[in-house]
């Protein structure tokens, strides 16, 4: 006996002398009854338990519901909440208005230059152009906003279409302005001169242009002589 066991000697003795509790008389009979009753209940395997109709039917219903939900969900169009949606951008207005300002401005500046050149030749045309400039001044605020962009644009080498425009307008300023030609004097141009309109001159117009060129050449030839 160890020291600690000696310390609790009386307690250990009493615990040892506690009456031994015995199993009831019918213990074995009851035990065999339980064993036999439990062995009768066959244990089903996991898969057998899983694929019973009681569990399979609701599971199949849930799976099919999920599949249907995804099919419907993917085919349906997204619905925007009108209260939460941002106001629609009027692209048609924006797309048209901005170039207009630019075009007016560009044309205005270009024509301003041209009027300076033409000034000595014909006053009437100059007056008309200045009117156009005046009308442009109404949108001065927008012009100022885009001024830097236009300055860049002007500094850039003039594209072919613009030179053609100035050429034509120069010819027009000489006096032989016809409605057909004036229509080309203001082609729609984009901000970065990317959207040039391709002008397909008709035969008449080409002839007219040729005539004008010839006139200019003859005039120049006369002057030089």
């Amino acid at each position: 006996m160890t020291d600690e066991e000696k310390k609790y000697q009386n307690l250990i003795k009493d615990l040892n002398n506690l009456r031994k509790v015995e199993a009831p008389q019918n213990f074995e009979a009851e035990l065999w009854r339980k064993i036999n009753s439990k062995s009768e209940v066959e244990k089903k395997s996991f898969w057998e338990n899983l694929f019973t109709p009681i569990k399979l039917i609701p599971a199949a219903a849930v799976v099919s519901a999920v599949i249907v939900f995804f099919i419907v969900e993917t085919n349906s169009e997204p619905i925007d909440d009108p209260l939460n949606a941002m106001p629609r951008l009027r692209e048609d207005i924006v797309a048209v208005e901005e170039p207009k300002v630019e075009v007016f401005d560009q044309i205005g500046k270009a024509e301003e230059k041209k009027t300076v050149v033409i000034k000595d030749k014909e006053g009437t045309v100059r007056r008309d152009k200045s009117k156009g400039i005046d009308s442009d001044k109404k949108d001065q605020s927008t012009m100022q906003r885009n001024e830097s962009l236009f300055a860049d644009e002007m500094a850039a080498p003039k594209p072919q279409a613009e030179s053609l425009k100035s050429e034509i307008s120069g010819e027009l300023s000489a006096g032989s302005a016809s409605p057909a030609v004036t229509a080309y004097s203001a082609p729609l141009m984009g901000k970065q001169n990317l959207n040039f309109r391709q002008i397909n001159l008709s035969e008449e117009q080409k002839k007219e242009v040729e005539q004008l060129k010839q006139k200019i050449q003859t005039k120049e030839a006369v002057k030089s002589k």
Partner: protein, 211 residues
Amino acid sequence: MFGNLKQNQTIQSKRQLEDRNLHEFTDEELILEFQKNNGEKAFEILIQRFKNPLTNYVYRFLGDYDACVDVVQEAFIKVYRYKDNYNSVAKFSTWIYTIAGNLARTEYQRRRRRNFFSINSYGEDEKTFEIPDNSTRPDVTADSKIKAELIQKALLKVHHAYREAVVLRDIQELSYEEIAEILGIEVGTVKSKINRGRAQLKVLLKDIYND
């Protein structure tokens, strides 16, 4: 006719001899017999050998006789069903004590969760419980019975981890090594748990052990 009777007598005597032999078997030999030949007689002998010690152990741990009988029966059912799980290296008593101990612990936890105790509620209730006992006379053993009841009540108040160690050591008289194997802990831990359990018991039974 006479030949058949003689044959039956020889079969009976052979069986008696076999039974007598089985009773002489160790626990380990019996369970091996049960494993190999599915001999229910071997299993019955094991039941006879272990039903009372296990009932005593589980009763001292749980404090409820009906629950204890159920637990012990469940332990035997497990032995019957999972006899092939027994490893011949271990002692059979250790194996069956482990099974019974685990079941008793599970039952104890279940009861504690439900806060349902059929007797005494860890001795706080004064109601007593009946244990079938035909061997002792109440008039003779009145004092010892009261003392035993007090000890049992105190035992149920001891922490369950210490209680099972104390019961296995001081009531079931198992060795430290066996207890360590049954509880799945080190021998040192077993000793520590037993000492703590005893200390708690002594505090709870200070009126009896006032020395």
